[in-house]
Symmetry: C2
Subunit: 415 residues, 2 copies
């Protein structure tokens, strides 16, 4: 990334010509906050309160049960899925919004294993997001410990793929280091060995352009509450490549995945295609909030989002290096644009109190155990000046040892 600004004034100049600047007033941000945690919980779109008020008062309050038809509630998983699909390079009819990321991962991992009978290994990254690993462990236990979860380092993935491997299950962007995998190359390597791929897009959907179709990815899941700004605990999504859809067994075979849910038949018959992966009644209020987030993200040019994101994260990393020198921060995110998602992370022995001191100054990032300071960059509502100022705050916190005050050492339940 060339042309990184080297002064605060240059940052302000960049902000003035930012092609994404018009998105900023379409979000509601607390005054005085520099929010570098949109990779954990996205911010509130300005339209969400009004939309939810309408869903609650009109669709639920007045329409009541009729709104399943008249307000289109029954089609929310399909409608939101088809709106989201272009953001991940997926075709209509491949993507559905439902359940949580963990539950969706369970469905797709179980379905994928069933497509590779005789193969007994699931390969993943040793520091993949824990819930992905836990779900795989739980599924293996449920299936009688016939499968092995083989955890390897990021650079050992290709070498770990052999003809015993059923599924390669990876996060597209690592939640701790921010390292971005090459989805097309790894999928090709997997396919060359008969291995199916299952991608977790939690830290990439809405953060950077991707093309699941072109990469020939088999399966994917992702999160609605990070870069898609769907609200805390927003429903998640799942993707199934067209080739697999008709032969997929849904392990969680609930009525919303039935071919004829309102015929109330006694026996299960899968809905055509990806719809068979729906399970229970969709959570309408949460879905409605997520729809606002998806609609807003769909208006943005993801190429511009990616360009600004890389410039912001490069600026942050460069300035930390330039300003901070030897204050105990060790960068663990790649500087190479091709390998970096939308976050920059550092280890520090005092990560927790350092972050609390930053938060007290209004600079909100988060900590990932045991010692990672994580800073996420969300181009739709962040400015270059804010990125510049965030490093200034970080430098002051570290230089003055502001983090050493007792109030910053109190641990909280959620980090």
């Amino acid at each position: 990334m060339t042309h990184l600004p080297t002064t605060r004034k240059a940052c302000a100049a960049l902000d003035l010509v930012d092609p994404l600047a018009s998105f900023r007033p379409r979000f509601t941000l607390p005054p005085g906050v520099i929010y570098l945690d949109g990779n954990s919980l996205g911010v509130l779109p300005a339209l969400t309160p009004e939309r939810l008020a309408k869903v609650i008062a009109d669709e639920w309050g007045q329409g009541l049960i009729r709104s399943w038809n008249t307000a289109g509630w029954v089609d929310l998983p399909q409608r939101l899925g088809d709106k989201l699909a272009p953001l991940i390079g997926a075709a209509a009819g491949t993507t559905r919004v439902c359940d949580s990321t963990s539950v969706n991962l369970f469905k797709l991992l179980a379905a994928a294993l069933a497509l590779r009978p005789g193969r007994t290994v699931i390969v993943s990254e040793a520091d993949n997001f824990p819930t992905d690993l836990y779900i795989a462990e739980g599924l293996a236990a449920l299936l009688g410990q016939q499968h092995e979860l083989r955890l390897v380092a990021a650079d050992e993935i290709e070498a770990a793929l052999d003809d015993r491997v059923a599924v390669l299950m990876l996060s597209h962007v690592n939640y701790r280091t921010g390292r971005l995998h090459d989805m097309a190359a790894l999928t090709a390597a997997a396919h060359a060995r008969g291995v199916l791929t299952l991608w977790d897009l939690a830290h990439s959907a809405g953060a950077l352009p991707m093309d699941l179709s072109a990469a020939q990815a088999d399966f994917a899941v992702g999160c609605g509450y990070k870069y898609l700004n769907g609200g805390p605990g927003a429903p998640a999504f799942l993707y199934v490549a067209p080739a697999h859809q008709s032969r997929l067994a849904a392990p969680l075979s609930g009525w919303f995945g039935h071919a004829r849910p309102f015929a109330f038949e006694s026996h299960y018959a899968p809905a055509p295609g990806v719809d068979r992966l729906l399970v229970g009644t969709p959570s309408v209020l949460s879905m409605a909030a997520l729809e606002v987030g998806i609609d807003l993200m769909a208006e943005a040019d993801l190429g511009q989002v990616r360009e600004k994101s890389l410039r912001m994260s490069a600026l942050f990393a460069a300035r930390v290096e330039h300003e901070l020198g030897d204050v105990g921060l060790v960068r663990i995110s790649p500087l190479d644009d091709a390998l970096r998602g939308s976050q920059v992370c550092f280890t520090h022995t005092q990560a927790w109190p350092v972050m609390q001191a930053l938060i007290a100054r209004g600079v909100i990032g988060d900590v990932r155990a045991p010692d990672i300071l994580r800073f996420g960059f969300t181009p739709l509502y962040l400015s270059y000046v804010q990125v510049w100022d965030a490093v200034t705050h970080l430098a002051e916190v570290l230089r003055t040892r502001e983090w050493d005050a007792p109030q910053f050492h109190h641990r909280q339940k959620v980090t």
Copy 2:
């Protein structure tokens, strides 16, 4: 049930002395509507819009990621579960709010089967709610078809329990007939044969008093959007008897069910007790709406709710019988109070157009395929006069064949 009113005036007199009358203004109902479908989607509590507006604007919009700690989001499954527990006769620490009813049923059925190795049969009712049967079918398929789903009629349940049966999985109240099972008696019969019980409380939680502890029920699931008024697609709940909690294997082993979710460990370790059955990040907006519904229901005396419900449903059934005679309605709900939930159902060859004609008059019930007219009674916001008037409308629709108009024959996706 004695003392059924025999005139509209007598209904009005009953309404005047209704001990639950003060609850009615605490719900928002559309003008001109008699809502007999609270067993499918409960109505909007008056406090919900304000509460959700605050969660969205303040907790999400201003608090952002900090609200996981400061607004107690992280404890929502526990807080709501412990508030709900008294409504089902459960102790604190046994009940959690999470996921959908279907997903929760999958978890508990899988966990229950694992507690009965060697036993291969799941017994259920042939006309249990379909998603329960579908989930059991899907789980059996996932586990390699080692289990058989044995479906029997309501009167044959006890006889179907033998030493091959692992789990008796029943809905407490049948969604079509409204027939109520004797939870304590069936659980005792099951236990006498070494069988575990899994109850679906979708049509009973919040509708009638029950005592899961005294009945020694092993497992239960239930729905947040019917009698608990949690909103469309509200999160569901699950219950695990204390004796089973520590030896339960969670088949959907997500990070919210981990002993230390924010330690981000690579390997799964179950949380103590029922918390291990949590999976993904809780859906905060939907949870917040459900909390209002639970809080409101928790203020009501369920004994009074039950008494009024039985009187309303008996009044409805008696008046249909008295007023309507031979117009093709066949009652399929029991008249015996001990056997009736909170609904009255009839078959009619023209069930669909009859219901559409009723809805056009503002009397909202629903249809269950192929030919059931279903009317639910929710004592917190219905009056006896409304029940009386509903039958008047039904009589007019049937006597004048109003339902025969073409516009009432158009089928909709959701019934």
